[in-house]
Every structure is written in structure tokens, then in C-alpha cells.
Assembly symmetry: C2
Homo-oligomer: 229 residues x 2
Amino acid sequence: MDQLKVKIAGEIALSSDPGNAMKKWREVFGVSQSDLSHYLGISPSTISDYESNRRKSPGIGVIRRFVDALFQIDLKAGGELIKRFMEAEPEQKFFEAVDFSKATTGAKLLEAIQGECVACSRKVDELPLYGVTILDSIKIILELPYESFVRIYSTTSQRALLFTGTSTGRSPMVAVRLAPIKPAMVILHDLPADKVDRLAVKIAESEGIPLAVTKLGLSEIKKKLEASV
Amino acid sequence: MDQLKVKIAGEIALSSDPGNAMKKWREVFGVSQSDLSHYLGISPSTISDYESNRRKSPGIGVIRRFVDALFQIDLKAGGELIKRFMEAEPEQKFFEAVDFSKATTGAKLLEAIQGECVACSRKVDELPLYGVTILDSIKIILELPYESFVRIYSTTSQRALLFTGTSTGRSPMVAVRLAPIKPAMVILHDLPADKVDRLAVKIAESEGIPLAVTKLGLSEIKKKLEASV
DNA sequence: AGGGTCATTCGGCAGATGGCTAATAGTATC
DNA sequence: GATACTATTAGCCATCTGCCGAATGACCCT
């Protein structure tokens, strides 16, 4: 647990955009600016000041309070996020790509993997899909250093992202929002449609990216994908 | 390499004694205050100000420049330290204890493992030894979070510490200096007597702790130790 | 005894931080 | 439309950072 704290603090401290790093972690922990500020006993605008880099070099006191607050808020709520982060084993591959030889559509893909659209369903047929990238959401957040946090998405235009190991879909969509190049579609693995986070849906809508869920097993999905190549 | 930077930055940021954390890493990298300050283009007293916690919450800008400087200084000198840190495999035990059933002396121990004293040799016979703790110096520095960096030494009074994987003996002695409870003797493994760092010797002298080296293989040493139980 | 490197302490100062309040605005939900 | 929650922006100010220079002690060396 301390290790995770150290990683977050170090990431913020070394980031060339510390405000964005703080924002990322706040959103990953699913805390609003006002909740966080209330917890810290300061005004919400102060949080916004940090996240917009109005303070170019925040003191480590701020960082410490910030990280501690996120942890304590999560612990009060049961410590689910921290638990999942701690359980994630390092040194394992966290993504896998399947390319299609010819373009398909979101609708066809969802049909193949028994997916259900929860946001932006009208766009499901618009964009051609050239492949699917399967990602472990926890590992991405943990193992990609902040600077390269978004680099993985550089090739994801015209591709669907399938996130595994997500409990609400919030963290992956935060990642998507921060990315400069957006995927054509996002699919959340093993997550009931009604448990999808509202913030995640909101991000999907505002970005215009179809968001879907599927309960099919991972190996099943891979089979289907490879069969459709 | 970035991971190591993040770890150092995070450790400093979250430490309740950031000055000491900065000092630890500066000394681990073997850089003097004046060299570091010269490299950063600031005055040596500024470094001292930080290390004595005159600034209670240094900005992340300072931390960033500090960490970058340490890395660049080491890289200019060949990057040996960074290389060693990167090579250290995690998830491996980093210490091993051998206890004696009855007390022995430093002189007897050194004779058994073919050790050679390089500092404070006159005290080698004074203190009774009840055991030897074998430590991997790199792993200690890397894996022990700063707060518990010294906890391992709580039981080392009346014991000798044998450090493996050290290239100059500087880092282990820095660790010893920071520890609240001191070992009775320090032995550096696989290191020629003339390559022992001068700062290491100085620390040993000022702490009154005999410092020795041995070239005997680790397995040989363990055999000898177990034989003398 | 003197010179060199090492580190610490302290007073001082420009400028930045850390915080506030108030105003603004986008989305949701009622 | 009103209310509530979200986040951002701007002006303001006390305090603290970030850095300096000078003075002070340790050492070690020759």
C-alpha cells in the first residue's frame, strides 16, 4: 500500500504536467473535486488551481495530503480500489492486439462477442474497425509511467479497446479521456450493463465513443476475434 | 530507469523527514553537497537547507531537479549505480540471519571467513558477537520504504552485518549511519580492501564500528558460519 | 599552522505558494 | 424553470519557498 502511495506521489512529482497527474489519480479513485476538497478542509477551487497547474511547483506537503486523502477516502468506502491495485501482479503483459484483415463495424463485432451497448449506440455502425486491443485496466494505470500513459493509444484510432479487470469502467474511460488519440469504441469486459459508472457513460457520450459491455469469457472472445480475421 | 526516479521522488515526497530522504539518496549516489549544488547551479547552503528541513514542503520542481541531477551525474560517470539498481531483481529475499549459540568475537569471526579489517580494527575484540546478518545492499536501498529503511537494524546490536553486492561500501555505511541502533561490526563482501570508499571508512571510524572486507564466496561463508554455531 | 573539501547555520529578500471568496458556466435532475 | 452538482477562472493576500552570501566548524593533508 505504501508502495502504491510512493508511486503516485513520484508520478505527480516528476510529471511535466503535475496537475493532470493529480487529476488522473483523483478520477481513478472516483472522487469529485468538491468531495476531495471537503475532505482536505480546503476550497474546491484550490483543487482546480492545482489541476490546472496554476501552482507550477506544489510542495510535497500538498502531494502528501492529496495522496493520503485519496487513500483514506477509498478505505472508508471499503478499500476496493486499493485492494485491486495491490493484487495486480507486475511483470505481466497488459495488452494484446488482434488485427482484422478487412474492416468490420462495431455492430458486427458486438454481435460476435455478445456485447451490449450502453452509450453512444447510434455511432456503432459509423466507424470502420480494423482491430481490437485487449487491455488490463489496472495494469495500465499502475505500470505505465505517466508520461507514456497515453502512448499506447497512439495506434488505437480505428480500433476498439477492450478493457479487462474493471469494476465500474470509470478508470478506463478516464484514461481514454486523457488520451490524445481516441479509440473507435470501448468495450468493458465482465461487467453488467447496469454497473457501468455514470462518469464513464458521460465521458463516452461527450467523446462520441460507443461504450459497450460483454460477459463472454476472455478466451471465448479471443477465439471469436481470431475467427473473424 | 524512470521507475527508479519515480520511486526516489515518491519516497522524498511522502517522507516525514524529506531532508533526510534527500540526503540518503545523495549519499547513496556518492555526491557531495557542493558537487550537487554546482551541478544544479545553486549554492551548497541551499542543499543543506533542504537536508535540514528548513523548507518543510519543498516544491516538486526542486525534487525533480534533484533526482535528475543525481541521475545525470551518475550517467556521466558511466551509470554504474543506476545499472546496478536496475539489475536488482525484485521479489527476492534480501537478508538472512545466522545466530550463534554462544558469543564469539569479531577477531574470531574474521579469521573464520578470512576477513581483513580496514577501519577501527582495535575494537574488533571488544564486542561480543551473537550472530551475523547477511544483507543485499542494493535490495535494501531499493525495497525498504524509507520509513522502515532502518527498522531492519533494530535487532542488529551485538550482531555483525555482512553486505553483499556492494561496489564501494558507501551505501551500506550510509544506511548504518542513518540507523538508530548500530551493528557491532560491518563486513563488506567481495570487495578489495583498497577499493573501500573513503566516506565509508570515515563513517566507520566516527561510529566506532569495525569495518572489514572478505573475498570468500557467499556459500563458503555460510558454511563457516554454520560450522561455528 | 595553514589550506582544501566537507557540511551547517542564519539573516535577508524577491517571488511563488497555498489558500480564500466570488463569479461563471455546463449538465442533470426535479 | 429552478436547483444541485460539477469544474474553471480571477483577484487578493499572508506565509513560505528558493536562493544567496557570509560566517562557522569539522575534518584531512602536507
